[in-house]
Each structure stands twice: as structure tokens, then as C-alpha cells.
């Protein structure tokens, strides 16, 4: 009778059967590495593309603030957003849609805020130029203690002019719209998170608050009617 194989031998046998040859593992790793390298290279190329448009050579060099901002926004819009603009499919598509919406609105918000802050910074630069002109125009030197109040006055005037200009209102509205859009998109994501945790969403709570509000009004009305009826009887 053959002796039963010892447990050690059995285990060795299994290991031999299940073992994956090293060259296969290496092959998979190689493939993954290549894939990553290709992806990385593609991204770098596209980044390069963004940086090699007409004005892009200024990106790291002599770019003015607005150029730099435009390039940054271009990069976000064309390169980063593109990764998320994949048509959603499958059972999780609605979540993907919401995530994409948030990223898109976030980019729009960033864009609008950038433009708005550039606009708000304009009077600072303009007032300093005004100040320089004023100093040069004055026959006598303006004493140091008078310079700050003078600059504040010039700056105040510049801001007033900006706020009453035609370019300000559209920028303000665009920024506010971007702020509300990104807030709503964020809320959409939060709602999913809250629902998955079995917690009421803001919308659920609002419905509840509305019902309480209307009920209170109704009770108040009924109380008044009741008082009036008692008064009559």
C-alpha cells in the first residue's frame, strides 16, 4: 500500500501547479508600466500643446496676470475637464453625471472668480498710476502724511467708477451665477452621500420645514376664527 503523501509534499505539489511563471508576471507589469507611460506621455504632450498656443510661450515667462490666468483656465477647461467629460453609461451613470456636473461648474466658478478678482484689482493699479501723476503734477512735494489719505481717495474714486461701469455688472452677475451653480452641484453630490447614509437631505428637511410653517399658519388662523366665534357667542 502506498503511504499517503505527507501534508508538506501535498502543499508543495499544489504550489507547483498554481504557480504563475515569472515571465508572465513580468509581462503584465511591463504592459501596465507601458500603459502608464503612454498615458503620462499623452498628458504631457497635451499640456505641451496647451502651452504652445500663440500666447502660451508666455506661460512661464513674461506673461501678464491676465495671460497667465487665461492659460490656466484654458488648461483646466481643455485638459483637466476633458478627462471627466466621458458620456456616462451603466447603473452608476447618474452619479457620474453629478460628479461631472460638479467638476464643470467648479471650473466655471474658478474662471468667473478669476476674472472678477482681476476686475476688482484693476482700481488698485489705476489708483497708483493716478497717484504718480498727481505727485508729478503738483508743484510742491506732497507731505508724507498726506499721501495715504490722497491715495485712499483716488482708490475710492476708481472703485466707484468701476462699479458704475458697463463691464462690472455682467462680471458680477456671471460670478454670482457661477457661485450658485457650483453650490447647487455640490449639494447634488452631498444629497447622494446623505441618502446612502440614510440621512435626510436638505431638500427633505426643507419639505418638512415647509409643512411645519404651513401648519403653524393654519393653527394661527384657526385660533383666530375660534376666538372670533367665542366672541360672538
Amino acid at each position: 500500500m502506498d503511504k499517503p503523501m505527507s501534508e508538506k509534499k501535498q502543499a508543495r505539489g499544489r504550489k507547483k501547479k498554481e504557480a504563475v511563471p515569472d515571465d508572465v508576471v513580468l509581462g503584465i507589469l511591463q504592459e501596465m508600466g507601458d500603459l502608464w507611460a503612454r498615458f503620462f506621455q499623452e498628458q504631457m504632450t497635451s499640456f505641451g500643446k496647451a502651452a504652445s498656443t500663440d500666447t502660451a510661450n508666455l506661460f512661464f515667462a513674461e506673461a501678464s496676470k491676465s495671460d497667465l490666468q487665461q492659460q490656466w483656465q484654458h488648461f483646466i477647461r481643455e485638459e483637466i475637464n476633458r478627462c471627466f467629460q466621458v458620456t456616462p453609461i451603466g447603473p452608476l451613470r447618474q452619479y457620474q453625471e453629478k460628479a461631472s456636473r460638479f467638476i464643470q461648474t467648479f471650473a466655471e466658478w474658478e474662471n468667473a472668480c478669476g476674472e472678477f478678482s482681476t476686475l476688482l484689482n484693476k482700481p488698485l493699479a489705476q489708483s497708483l498710476e493716478d497717484m504718480e501723476e498727481k505727485i508729478q503734477a503738483e508743484k510742491q512735494e506732497i507731505p508724507v502724511e498726506n499721501r495715504f489719505p490722497l491715495w485712499i481717495e483716488l482708490l475710492e474714486n476708481r472703485y466707484l467708477a468701476l462699479y458704475r461701469s458697463e463691464e462690472f455688472m455682467p462680471a458680477l452677475h456671471k460670478t454670482l451665477q457661477a457661485v450658485t451653480s457650483v453650490t447647487k452641484a455640490r449639494e447634488g453630490l452631498m444629497d447622494d452621500l446623505l441618502k446612502s447614509s440614510h440621512l435626510p437631505t436638505t431638500r427633505d428637511m426643507d419639505e418638512l420645514y415647509r409643512e411645519i410653517y404651513l401648519l403653524k399658519k393654519r393653527v394661527e388662523l384657526l385660533e383666530k376664527e375660534l376666538k372670533a366665534q367665542h366672541g360672538r357667542t
Binding site: 502724511e145 485712499i152 472703485y159 455688472m169 454670482l176 451665477q177 450658485t180 415647509r210 411645519i212
Partner: protein, 381 residues
Amino acid sequence: MVGLDEPRLRLMADFLRQSVKDLENLMKVPGVLGRDLPASIGETPYEIVYEEDRLRLKHYRPVGKKRIGTPLLVVYALINRETMLDLQPDRSVIQGLLRGGAEVYMIDWGTPTRKDRFLTIDDHVNGYMDRVVEVIRQRHATPQVNLLGVCIGGTFSIMYAALHPDKVKNLITSVSPVQFDTDKGLLHLWMKDFDVDGLIDAYGNIPGDFLNFGFLMLNPARLVIEKYKNFVDHIEEMSFVENFLRMEKWIFDSPDVPAETFRQYVKDCYQQNLLIQNKMRLNGSRVDLRRITMPVLNFYGRYDHLVPPEACVPFIEKIGTKDGENVCIDTGHIGIYVSSKAQKEFAPRIVRWLMERDKEDKRRAGEKRRPRREKAPSPNV
């Protein structure tokens, strides 16, 4: 030295001296702010006599003899807090009124939460305000109260007086907008095409921080730069520092504004200017300014950048009484209550005016009691 004449050198020396001084002051800021500074506000003693939801009704007793017969209800705005009227003992409208012998009640609107987002202007005016007036009427067994409205609180008081004229004896409004169709104030300009629905959809109640940012943006040169430079310049004057901290504490303590109230205020007032045209409706009832038949005293600030004089002054022309008066104070929107100059004008003027109205009432009551004598016929007839 080449190219630098004596005046220029002197100027450079001045500039350096100033810079060193500024730097020295700036370095003192952390040390000063690190101390335990007295910056408490709203210190005048009061008792809470009524509470409802988030609202509290504060009652202040007059100092000394009561000289004004009818209790005075102060209706503060929904933006920032009512403590502004009682910032510190020597800058307190409340104390000014109490010293004048007035019995003062003041509405503290509290801090609205998400639960309050459906509250409308009608809920504030015909709901909370009316119930508060009822409480005061019962406590003093009086048919009427005197109303003092501040900013939007003044606009609410105007609506209340128009809808319940029988319950208001005298109406005092301060920096309260009524004519919204003006381009003098930036707020009026910005609100014209403001997408209030979008903002409310996103936020619910309007966040106090959002409003604060808007107010700062109105004049960044003064409110963001000059103000803090002044603070650094006066860092060694403790009374200045304490006053500054009190104002900071008050100005950035901004409760959210209930969504539906804000929506209605922007749409009906700023965008359609309904109030001054007698077209505004609260829960179906039309607010007709001609129904304001009680005496009216209307304060406004000459340099008010939030509610410009153009938004306040026309109110008096639209009311149904000849006993209406505009009073201009040479200050801004907040200065009317907190500047040391206005302390001598605002509260004392109110006290004087109310006392005059009381005297007038007594004279009329006396006339009614006395039997009328037939006038002797004129010798010419």
C-alpha cells in the same frame, strides 16, 4: 548727492521715519490683541418680556422719571444685530432714550436657521411685530405704541403703520428706504437685475457672510484698507482700540436673512419699487402709505452710502399726515447711531419730538373736555 535736491531728501527722510513708525505700530498689534480687552456690547440692563420662535422682546426701564407717556418699540433691521443701538455706555441710543424718560422695548430678531426660510415680510410685519405690539399694549393698558424703525426695520415699521394705523401713535423712521428706484446708492444699482431666485435656490437663507462681503465690496478703500490702517495707527490708544473692537464684534456678527423675506424685499422693493407707489401687498393686503396718519419723524444720513437720502426723503410726501418731518444728520448709515456727534442729535431729538407730541395730545384732550363757547359775532357782520 546727484539728482536729489533738499526737499526731495527731506521727503525721503519723512517717508522712512513714517515707515519705521508704521512698522513699529504693526509689531505692537499682536501684543495688544493678545490682551483681554473689554469689548462687550449691549450692556444696558434689560429683561426679556416675550419670546416667540427665534424672536425676543427686550424691555428697558427709563432712568429716573418717566417723561414720555407711550412706550416706544424699537424695530431693528434683519441685517446685523440690534446691539448696535447699545454699543457702549457713552455711545448708546438706548441709554439716550432712557435718560430722556422713555420706556423702551426692542425686538431682537435672533438667528434665523434653515427652518425660518419660508418666513415672509408678512410674517414679520403682521405676525411677529403685531404680536409684540399686542404684548406691549396689554402690559401698559394702552391702545397705541410709539414705533422707532431702523433701516429695513424702519421699512417694516412703515408697512406696519400703514396696515395698523390705529395701533401706532407716533412713527419714527431712521435710514429706512422707501423710494428704491434711485441710482444714487450702489446697492440700488446692483439689485436691479440681481438673480435673487438663483441665490435662494442655492443657499436657502441668505448667509450673513455673503451680505458682509457685499457691504465691504461697496467701498473697499475705506472699509478694508483705511479702517485697518487707522487701527494700526492708533494701536496705543486703548479707548480707540476698545471702540474699534466693539464695532468689529458688531459688524461681523451677521445673522442669515430668511430666504422668502429677502426674495420679496429684493423683488417688490428694489426691483419693482412697489412700496412708494402704494402697490406692495402683504398677504393680500395693500400697503397704502396714505393710511399713515400719525405724526412721522424721518431721519436720514447725508453721507449714507447704503440708503442714500434719495431713498428716504420722498417718504414724507407720500403719507397721509401733514405732521411729517425729514431730519438730516451729517453722517453715514451707521454713524447716525454710533458717532459721538450723532449721540447728541439722534436720541435727544426723538425724546424732544415725542414730548412735544405728548404735550399736543394733552392740549387737545383738554380742549375736548372744555365746553365750547360760541364765538361773538364780528361787528362787521
